[in-house]
Amino acid sequence: MNNYLTSTIFRKVLASLSGLFLVTFLVGHLVGNLQLFIPGVQGQTQFNKYALFMTTNPVVQALSIITYSAILLHIFITLFLVIQSRRARPVGYAVSNGNDSSGWSSRNMAILGTVLLFFLVIHLKSFWYKMHFGEMPYQYLSDGTKIKDLYQVTTSAFQNPFYTFFYVFCMGALSLHLKHGVESAIQTVGLRIPSYEKLFKYAAIAVAFSIPAIFASIPVYLYFTNI
């Protein structure tokens, strides 16, 4: 009806829903990554079999296409909105005191998002691209078959202190992005009703802290166990 599809509110809803969907993706990804905590050959075998499953299973393939689409939608719709909001204030203020009225992360979602995009490109190149198109080492299983050894690629990548630090730093950016993003998305879709305001606030903080913290603990663990 009327201008609904081109309205700022509808675009915000798209940004919110794609963002919330990506949070569920993060949870799934995190659960898979937890297998990297399993030590020795057992962990290597389990992780590599999991990686094989994730790259061949048709349901996962379909889900991954939805995830890539959500990422692209989230990037383009927010980019569009950022450009629109820049246009809404052609002349800025000489003095601004943003921290007096709002949180830093809420005002810098675009910067945080750009850091995450940069991270995503490097992250996909290191693991996803290598797994699909790069030269991979192989693990030979006891039954004689060989599978791509993503476990070795991952553990050796996190022996580099700079790469490990970069990963942890980007998880910090993710945390700040989620801190505002989750609560903001709930508000935009209209679910942040006053009687549950506190619940949503703490849920957003819990999500924003725990997901990146557990993600970051894996490379830190791998770095220090292989040092």
Partner: protein, 250 residues
């Protein structure tokens, strides 16, 4: 009381087409009981004495209820005090020899007319697009003729406290008018009289808001922190929900 002396950096702009720049003025002979606008009056008097054109700024009731006064004072819409318009901000909140930077509201939809005066008629056009009940209301109805629960009446009244000053737009990093529009939508959407035109109203007012070139809402909450009437972003949530539901249901 004591004498107060200030250095003011004020935005001067001859007309909407002029580029504009900051001018620095020293103003003396002030006291801490003056309101910020009275301080501006003293400055203007001193400027006239020096044959400098006085600074144009918006003001009317000077009681904090008309929504005419504006000014971004040291980076804060209506200055540093919470829940206060510029006219109700008193000089006791500033220290002797402070430097204060005064700027107009900055938004594409609020073009500068002159100095600190901006054109806020985009707000009027949003109201004209649907912020009313289009029936002849006749004379005042009897009290309690239409029963409305106390909490609902309070909530509608809190939205109706919006004076349309534009501080929400001025303070929002995206120059979004969401707080204003949501208050004006909600003050009617919450009451029985507003129901027949509820869908149509929210659609028209949101469309007009977008058309006027305001930015989108990123839920930073800066508007509710700076709003002189302390209107809550809860109304923005209500407006979003109303807008989405009215379009999705068709």
């Amino acid at each position: 009381m004591g004498d107060l002396q200030l250095t003011l950096k004020v935005w001067r702009q001859r007309s909407s087409s002029d580029k504009g720049k900051f001018e620095t003025y020293d103003v003396s002979g002030l006291n801490s009981h003056m309101s910020f606008l009275e301080m501006m009056d003293v400055l203007n008097e001193q400027l006239v004495g020096k044959d400098i054109e006085p600074i144009a700024f918006d003001h009317d009731c000077r009681e904090g209820i008309c929504g005419m006064c504006s000014m971004v004072i040291n980076g804060r819409a209506h200055g540093p005090l919470k829940g206060t318009t510029t006219c109700q901000l008193h000089m006791r909140h500033f220290k002797n020899e402070d430097t204060i930077t005064i700027e107009p509201w900055r938004a594409k939809a609020f073009p500068v007319v002159k100095d600190l005066v901006v054109d806020r008629s985009s707000f009027d056009r949003i109201i004209q697009s649907g912020g009313y009940v289009s029936v002849n209301t006749g004379s005042a109805p009897d009290g309690n003729a239409i029963p409305i629960p106390k909490e609902v009446a309070e909530e509608a009244f809190d939205a109706a406290a919006c004076i349309g000053c534009g501080a929400c737009v001025a303070t929002c990093k995206n120059a979004s008018a969401s707080l204003f529009v949501s208050a004006k939508v909600s003050q009617l959407a919450l009451l029985p009289q507003g129901q027949p035109e509820r869908k149509e109203r929210v659609n028209k007012m949101v469309s007009k808001m977008d058309e006027e070139g305001f930015g989108h809402c990123t839920n930073t909450g800066a508007c509710q922190a700076e709003c002189p009437k302390e209107i809550s972003i809860e109304y923005i949530r209500k407006m979003n929900l109303d807008y989405n539901l009215s379009n999705l249901k068709g």
